[in-house]
């Protein structure tokens, strides 16, 4: 299991489209991916789950991945959260 913590820096809230792209990225990996913001933890492959985290500018998100391609998955998700292109 690998973990990384990032602070969401993008202006404004994490919009639906950004979440959709994120879960599509997450779903392309075989590893289990989890996002945690505050006390809530969501499966990185679940749209409603990630939406419910209500990630905003300044939110600290801890990403964890576990599985055969965990390192790549973590890099990709962390990279996207740090610089989401919508």
């Amino acid at each position: 299991m690998v973990k990384k913590e990032i602070i969401f820096q993008h202006d404004g809230d994490m919009q639906m489209k950004a979440v959709a792209v994120l879960i599509q990225k997450a779903s392309s990996y075989r590893s289990n991916i989890w996002l945690q913001a505050g006390e809530r933890r969501a499966n990185g492959k679940s749209l409603l789950g990630v939406m419910s985290l209500a990630i905003q500018k300044g939110t600290t998100v801890e990403i964890s991945a576990e599985g055969p391609d965990e390192d790549d998955a973590l890099e990709a998700i962390a990279g996207y959260l740090e610089n989401p292109e919508v």
């Binding site: 289990n32 809530r40 969501a42 499966n43 492959k45 679940s46 409603l48 789950g49």
Partner: protein, 303 residues
């Protein structure tokens, strides 16, 4: 550690604030218990839990009333200087001048309710138990089928949401899709509900996000439900053997409570909704003391 702010308690029980220091949001209660400080007022502070809400009813008020003003001041000062979160007077009693003064001296909010002491006390403890219960979030779907709360767990893409949709179409209720917030409200009961932001929404791949309440109405949803039974959905694995008789009692541990569970292998073409529905009925029947596999054994071997 779970806690609930005094402000929430005041709002929940409509408590009157006799003194207020603007800090009720910062006062956090983390014990689900209430003390009637009779012994403390008479001078004994052995095992005193200063983190509990203190409640003054008929008995305590009568005792204080029988004291001289000087004694009352001393006793109340002793109690309120110990860092208690607040003091509640029940039955709409008038506060003594000394109570108000000590409350201001130590910035301990003085609250009042017209309720009967014992009724208020049990309602408050019940409320605290629910609010302070250990909590976790699970990735799954919670539905109610024939009165049983069924939690479906499984990997992303195994078909939980689709199954939930069909279960709703068959006349049952959805509580939460995707994320289930679970609270252990007693040693035997787990309560599940959806995070408010995504309540009663469901995501079906290819359709997008659906609002079950708007689509199918209030009778298709429920706010919260106990978790009576867990169904694990997993992709069919040819090398694994699956339960054929229904004799084994499998359980799943959630927050330290062992919930009866079964594992259902998923294969294209299997109607999961019907299987889950029947599993719920079968679970009810078992709870009523009937097990089809055991009955078969009796027929075979006649004992």
């Amino acid at each position: 550690m779970a806690s609930v702010s005094l402000k929430n308690i005041i709002d929940e029980f409509n408590l009157e604030e006799l003194t207020s220091f603007g800090n009720t949001e910062d006062i956090l209660i983390s014990v689900a218990d209430v003390t009637r400080p009779g012994l403390q007022l008479s001078g004994s502070y052995e095992h005193f839990g200063a983190d509990r809400i203190q409640l003054l009813g008929n008995m305590e008020m009568a005792y204080l009333d029988a004291q001289t003003a000087e004694d009352r001041m001393y006793k109340l000062d002793q109690l309120m200087s110990r860092g208690i979160p607040c003091l509640v007077i029940s039955r709409q009693h008038e506060p003594f001048a000394e109570l108000l003064e000590c409350s201001r001296r130590y910035s301990v909010p003085l609250l009042r309710t017209p309720e009967v002491t014992s009724v208020f006390m049990s309602a408050l403890i019940k409320y605290l138990n629910v609010e302070l219960a250990p909590e976790t979030t699970l990735h799954g779907v919670l539905v109610e089928i024939y009165g049983e709360g069924i939690l479906m767990l499984g990997e992303s893409g195994v078909g939980k949401s689709e199954t939930a949709m069909e279960i709703v179409k068959r006349g049952h209720r959805l509580i939460a899709d995707d994320l289930v917030e679970v609270r252990r409200v007693s040693d035997t009961t787990l309560l599940g509900q959806a995070p408010e932001i995504i309540r009663h929404l469901i995501e079906i791949r290819g359709l997008g996000i659906l609002d079950v309440k708007e689509l199918f109405g209030v009778s298709s949803i429920k706010q919260q439900e106990s978790i009576d039974f867990v169904i694990k959905l997993e992709l069919w694995d040819e090398r694994k053997s699956y339960e054929r008789l229904g004799i084994n009692e499998e359980t799943t541990d959630i927050l330290g409570i062992r919930v009866p569970s079964i594992t259902i292998p998923v294969r294209p073409g299997r109607n999961l909704a019907i299987i889950v529905e029947v599993a719920a009925i079968n679970f009810r029947q078992r709870r009523m003391g009937y097990n089809a596999a055991e009955e078969l054994t009796k027929r075979l071997f006649g004992n």
